[in-house]
Structures are given as structure tokens and as C-alpha cells.
């Protein structure tokens, strides 16, 4: 039951990975990143993958639909005025959800790379496993005492019985409803008095995976608005956040972020 795309030389295990790859390929010229080119490349890749099983195909297609909508939006003229209709809001919401998922996926893929380095380092040391010398083992209790041949056969049945197949997941894209606006509002309350803090502290006690990503987006939003300064000593170092916005709590920012975020 191997899925066809898993055995390709250039493996994209999931839609997020594929999309991240396509984006990274464009990253050479950050300011020329083209949504159109990425959407076209994504669709071409989907085509190249050939038939997928239903579940995988759904995941890839949901993303494709969002991308195509975003591309269409990009090609249309800006709507007059600043009113957004419900469809547009829904599209922005989908885009933000996709963005959050991409960031989360990227976060864990970087964590995976780090685990690989740790495993490589760990493999350079081999533990002593020779065990006690034979003469000591004679003292060890006989583990087979009281075990009958029937016990052994029953243990085999337990070990080799087919496990019940995992239920087919109907949770394709868990509709995660998180609001960057809420996170922004929270940060606008906590950051001004805090001087310099760290991203780790900002996310202390946050254990939902998506919430960390959302807070990160909120911090970036503040950065874009010039309300905080960010710096990170080293690649894996602490991300330090310094409030530079004075005492003002721009309520308009929160309103603006609401259309942006959720």
C-alpha cells in the first residue's frame, strides 16, 4: 500500500513540503517571488505525480484550490474602496491558514533535521552491552520458570495477530480557527511594559502547535508596523523582542490585523 509519490526520486510527502520546496526555489530573488509561477509549478507537479490515493489527493487538491483562488485574485484589479466581501474574507482566512500550516510544517522539518544531527552525533558513541559474565548469569533467576509451551504459543498469537487497521481519518484539514488578531491584542497588552523579552517567553505555556505559529505571525506583524525590534544571536538562538512603540496601543492596528488574520 505504498503511495506512488512516496517512491519517486524527488519525494514530496505532502502538499506543504511540495509548496515549501517551490517557494524556496523562488527564494533566490525574494522580491520577485511570483505567486503565479508557484501555482503553475504546483499544478504541474501535481500532474506529474500521476494518480494518488483518495486521501492524499484530497490534501493536495484542497491546497491547489486555495492557490488557484489566490492567483485569480492577484490577476484581478484591486476592488474599488476598501470593503471586502465575504468571499474575499474567506479567501484571506484560507491563505492565513495555509501560511500557518506551511510555517508549522517548516518548523517541524527543521526540528527533524536537528534530530538527524543529534542521532548522527549519538551514533558516534556505542554503549557497553556485553552484560554480566557468564558465571554471574548462572545466579540470575530462570525467566522461563513456570512458562509452558502453551504460554509460548499464546504469546506468538498475541505478537503476530493482525493489528486492527487504523480508522480512516476523516480529519483532512482540521479547520483550525486561530486568530492572529487575538494574539496581537494580547501582545499589545503584555509587550509595552516588558522591555526586552524573548519569543520563548512569549510562547511559554502555549502548547497548541498552531498557537506558537500564530504568535510568531503576530510578532512579525508588530515588527512590520515598527512597534517591536527583533534580533536573534545565532541561527538557533533566542529570538529577542524589544518593544519600541512607546505607550501607544494602536487600536487601529488590531482592527487592521483582523482583516489580515481572521
Amino acid at each position: 500500500m505504498t503511495v506512488p509519490y512516496e517512491v519517486r526520486t524527488e519525494v514530496f510527502e505532502g502538499p506543504f513540503e511540495l509548496l515549501l520546496h517551490l517557494i524556496a526555489r523562488q527564494e533566490v530573488d525574494l522580491y520577485e517571488v511570483s505567486l503565479c509561477a508557484i501555482v503553475d509549478a504546483y499544478l504541474a507537479e501535481l500532474d506529474r505525480m500521476g494518480p494518488l490515493d483518495l486521501e492524499s489527493a484530497t490534501e493536495f487538491l484542497v491546497i491547489a484550490a486555495t492557490l488557484v483562488e489566490l492567483k485569480t485574485r492577484r490577476l484581478l484589479p484591486e476592488p474599488p474602496g476598501d470593503g471586502l466581501d465575504d468571499d474575499e474574507l474567506a479567501l484571506f482566512e484560507q491563505r492565513d491558514l495555509l501560511l500557518a500550516q506551511l510555517l508549522e510544517c517548516k518548523t517541524f522539518s527543521q526540528a527533524g533535521e536537528h534530530l538527524a544531527r543529534m542521532l548522527d552525533a549519538g551514533a558516534r558513541s556505542a554503549p557497553r552491552t556485553a552484560g554480566p559474565e557468564a558465571w554471574f548469569l548462572a545466579l540470575a533467576p530462570d525467566l522461563l520458570a513456570g512458562v509452558t509451551p502453551d504460554d509460548l504459543a499464546r504469546a506468538l498469537v498475541r505478537a503476530a495477530s493482525p493489528k486492527p487497521p487504523p480508522k480512516v481519518s476523516i480529519v483532512h484539514m482540521t479547520p483550525i480557527r486561530v486568530s492572529v488578531g487575538d494574539a496581537l491584542a494580547e501582545l499589545l497588552t503584555s509587550l509595552p511594559g516588558a522591555g526586552t523579552t524573548t519569543f520563548r517567553r512569549v510562547t511559554a505555556g502555549v502548547d497548541s502547535r498552531i498557537d506558537v505559529v500564530v504568535r510568531f505571525l503576530a510578532v512579525l506583524e508588530l515588527y512590520k508596523q515598527g512597534l517591536v525590534e527583533l534580533d536573534q544571536g545565532s541561527t538557533f538562538g533566542e529570538l529577542r523582542i524589544t518593544w519600541t512603540g512607546g505607550d501607544e496601543r494602536a487600536p487601529s492596528l488590531v482592527a487592521g490585523a483582523d482583516t489580515y488574520g481572521a
Binding site: 500500500m1 505504498t2 519525494v11 510527502e13 513540503e17 517551490l22 523562488q26 525574494l30 505567486l35 508557484i38 492524499s56 490534501e59 491546497i63 476598501d82 471586502l84 495555509l98 501560511l99 506551511l102 510555517l103 510544517c105 517548516k106 518548523t107 517541524f108 522539518s109 526540528a111 527533524g112 533535521e113 536537528h114 534530530l115 538527524a116 543529534m118 542521532l119 552525533a121 549519538g122 558516534r124 558513541s125 556505542a126 554503549p127 557497553r128 556485553a130 552484560g131 559474565e133 487504523p166 481519518s169 480529519v171 484539514m173 482540521t174 519569543f199 520563548r200 510562547t203 502547535r209 506558537v212 510568531f216 512579525l220 536573534q232 538557533f236 487592521g256 490585523a257 482583516t259 489580515y260
Partner: protein
């Protein structure tokens, strides 16, 4: 040279016959000293091995103490131990392992939703390798099986506990990456426009 204490010598002997990291409380019981004394003795012995440039080290791994070869000497040890150099893991397997490590206890659908792809086959492979295992059931409806990492996982990483993993936030993409992704998806949207 002053005579070595029986405690230190017994510690060396027990560690030599142990097949897995030995927990301090068991060592304390065997040596009839307090667990904190065990920790002191082990720290001193580890420092002495390092000083003496031994070919082995005393390491604290997965909640216990064990003797292991010095990483410098990996080329010799690898040549000697033919069996058991497992193939490298795929990026997909590593990413899944990271999700389980940082999100445990976690169900298969939860892992799948992070990666946007069914995780069953990869999780089976990780279980075969002994890195993850079933750790319980979700109390909610459906009672999904929950997975976590194993003691073997810590042993392979050579770390004492999960607390020795870097915080997940240290892997959140750099701002430039985030910006590139944002741009790719159509920039900051309406909030940039005004």
C-alpha cells in the same frame, strides 16, 4: 597514588556489566550510598575518564549512567561492529519523529494534520526502529491511540531526557523565510494595502 574507594571500583564494575543505562537509585541501592552520592561519584569518574583521555566515557543517558565509547574513536568501533548501522531516515520520517517528540502524546491524525499527509506508514517504521511507541489513548470520543517517544530514542540521541532537546520555538523559520512564504502566497494582503 591513593587507593581508590570501594564505591568507585564497584561503580565501575556494575557499569561494565549493565546492558542499559543504570538509574542512580538502583546504583545507590547496590552501593549502599545515597543517590546524590552516586551522582557525585559518577561526575567525578566521568571527569577522570575525560582527563585520562580514555577510549570510553561515562555518560548520563535516558535517566541513567552508562559506559560508552568516545566519539573520536567511532571509525574503529564502526569497523568492529558490523551489524546494526541502520539506514539513514528519510526527511519525512525525521519530520514525523520531530512532531511526535515535541507534541507527545499525539495521535496519528494529529501528526497527519501537521504534515498534510497520512502518517501511518512512517509511524510504523519509527515504531520498528524503537523510536516511538503507543503511550495511551485519547480520553475523548474515538479514543485515538496516542504516541510518544521511547527510552531507546533518548539512548540513540545520547541525551538524558526530552528536556535536553532544543525548544521547538528555536526551529520556527527565520523572518526572511516567513516573509518569502507570505510573499509567495500573496503578500500581507489587505493590511499592506492601506
Amino acid at each position: 597514588m591513593k587507593p581508590r574507594s570501594e564505591i568507585t571500583r564497584a561503580l565501575e564494575a556494575v557499569l561494565l556489566v549493565a546492558e542499559e543505562p543504570v538509574e542512580p537509585h538502583l546504583l545507590a541501592q547496590l552501593l549502599e550510598v545515597s543517590p546524590s552520592r552516586v551522582d557525585e561519584e559518577c561526575a567525578a569518574l566521568a571527569a577522570a575518564y575525560a582527563d585520562e583521555e580514555r577510549g570510553f566515557v561515562l555518560a548520563r543517558v535516558a535517566g541513567g549512567y552508562r559506559l560508552q565509547t568516545h566519539p573520536d574513536l567511532a571509525p574503529y568501533v564502526e569497523r568492529f561492529v558490523l551489524d546494526g548501522q541502520p539506514a539513514r531516515m528519510s526527511p519525512a520520517a525525521l519530520e514525523t519523529l520531530a512532531v511526535v517528540a515535541y507534541r507527545q502524546p499525539v495521535s496519528r491524525p494529529q501528526v497527519a494534520s501537521v504534515r498534510g499527509v497520512n502518517a501511518d506508514a512512517v509511524m510504523r517504521t519509527l515504531a520498528h526502529r524503537g523510536y516511538i511507541e503507543e503511550v495511551g489513548r485519547d480520553p475523548g470520543p474515538g479514543q485515538a491511540v496516542l504516541y510518544g517517544t521511547t527510552r531507546v530514542f533518548l539512548e540513540k540521541l545520547g541525551v538524558d531526557s526530552l528536556a535536553d532537546l532544543p525548544p521547538l520555538s528555536s526551529f520556527v523559520p527565520a523572518p526572511e523565510m516567513v516573509e518569502a512564504i507570505e510573499k509567495a502566497l500573496g503578500g500581507g494582503g489587505s493590511s499592506n494595502g492601506g
